[in-house]
Subunit: 305 residues, 2 copies
């Protein structure tokens, strides 16, 4: 049991569950995570997976502790479907949360909905909460947020709303091509070559339609020109990000851009954008997620008041 | 034992081995195949894998039976490395074949080399034999051959030589995306929707740089617009082939084009090219492979005479 526990924040994605024990407001008292992502659970498995992480935080029943969750937990295949809100829309609106049934009376779970765009068709679940967290700190931001990941999102934000967004499968393509395609023979698991990355970005930004040919050239250069595995990895990343930047040009050209992310993935986007004369800001994923969940918690409190 | 066996033709790729018992010239007496592709074999495994298919065709030792083989069997990880010839080059030249050691005195194995291109870096192994087979029937052909497959090749052929070529990972990307990415949830294993295919081709031919975004739209349209799984499959194929056609435009625009292939894959390329006002010819893979191996056999005979 954690003294001062006021609510629990949960970022529940396809492959992971992350939870934070929160005091009043945005004070983090404890954190925990597991691999109990949405994709590994049946509907009956969500409550046990949550209790496995937060059960020890809860005391005897007084009033139920609110759990505010974002991400794929709200998908059709998740715990309870939280229908998408259509853009343009505020990234969060507490009236749209759903409440799955729970057996443990100490829990009051609220699942936040994602956003959808009808034309061109697109969806997000989880990133809207990071966007809300970013806007909590910069409510007047007018520009573009780039959220790198398995499915990278670009979102145009104005007047507190998400106006439009676009998803790219860049991260998933990198994983598939580097580990499961013929390129795996010549692409290292780790290592970085800044020059090879920049070269890859330049190639597809200039000639994006040649992506599928440039990809095979990584294999051919490994065979006949001695391309090193770490350089091959960096070139593959550069080719995919360059192609994405070419397609996302209407998003970033001449706009204020902030990358929400951490680690090597976010750094790659910052590097590639900087080479195009855009100097993006950088905000942390965990901070933005927690800020967004905190905003949702406050909204729920107001709605309940 | 097969009466009249003169030589054995072998198409030995990454995942399959196909062999034909040949009489004098190009008469096919028998055929066999197995899954003993290069990728599944250690160097010591090639001769047993070959004998498993052709052992019954061979009689007692008189003179060894020539086996003429093309494909990945000649790769560095294959039975014996047959170094690439650099383009521009004749697709076949018997003086470049290699002879792996064999334990069974009834076999005389000849492995044909592939082709390489230094700038842009590219390689082929096996397709050069199909090209040679095509040129055996049309020696004056001046134009472009398209060879769809896991790694589709476009080759510019003139004066009997391969002048340049370009490989696209389209087939492998289709397999990875349709079976292993997030798209698998909404993409059928079979089925065809001609309209969805044409729409996909049009999208990426017009805006090839948007490929990575159009790909995710298949998922999003499945979730929020009810895109049917067979239509999703066709649209995915169309998007990838359209992007390839955009990049390969210098190859096919205003040229004589012949597609060497069979089945749904070749038909998709023919359909997509026809919609662009190119009416490609169509030649069968097995026929072209056998014709090419027969040309190599004749060349070896002359070299031996």
């Amino acid at each position: 049991m954690i003294r001062g526990l006021d609510w629990i924040a949960a970022d529940w994605g396809t492959t992971n569950l992350r939870v934070w024990a929160m005091g009043r407001g945005d004070a983090v008292l404890a954190r925990a995570e597991s691999a109990a992502g949405m994709a590994s659970l049946t509907p009956a498995g969500f409550e046990p997976a949550l209790l496995a992480l937060v059960g020890a935080w809860l005391g005897a029943v007084g009033v139920p502790v609110p759990v505010v969750a974002c991400g794929m937990v709200g998908a059709r295949q998740g715990w309870a479907e939280a229908p998408y809100a259509a853009v343009p829309a505020l990234p969060l609106a507490p009236g749209r949360t759903v409440r799955p049934r729970v057996a443990d009376a100490r829990l009051a779970v609220h699942i936040l909905p994602g956003l959808r765009q009808d034309r061109p068709a697109d969806v997000m679940r989880g990133e809207e909460t990071q966007i809300a967290g970013f806007l909590a700190g910069q409510p007047d931001f007018d520009g573009v947020l780039c959220l790198p990941g398995t499915h990278t999102k670009w979102a145009h934000v104005s007047a507190g709303e998400v106006v439009s967004f676009q998803t790219f499968m860049t991260g998933e393509m990198f994983a598939l091509l580097s580990r499961q395609s013929v390129l795996r023979h010549g692409v290292a698991d780790t290592g970085w070559d800044a020059h090879a990355f920049a070269h890859g970005v330049d190639q597809t930004l200039a000639r994006p339609e040649r992506l599928a040919a440039y990809l095979f050239s990584i294999r051919a250069e490994g065979l006949i020109a001695g391309l090193a595995p770490a350089a091959a990895r960096s070139q593959l990343s550069g080719l995919l990000i360059g192609a994405e930047l070419a397609a996302a040009r209407p998003y970033w050209l001449g706009r204020s851009v902030v990358v929400i992310g951490g680690g090597a993935g976010a750094k790659a986007y910052v590097t590639a954008l900087s080479a195009q004369g855009v100097t993006p800001g950088l905000a942390g994923v965990e901070e933005m997620t927690l800020a967004g969940l905190t905003m949702a918690r406050l909204g729920l409190q107001r709605g309940l008041a």
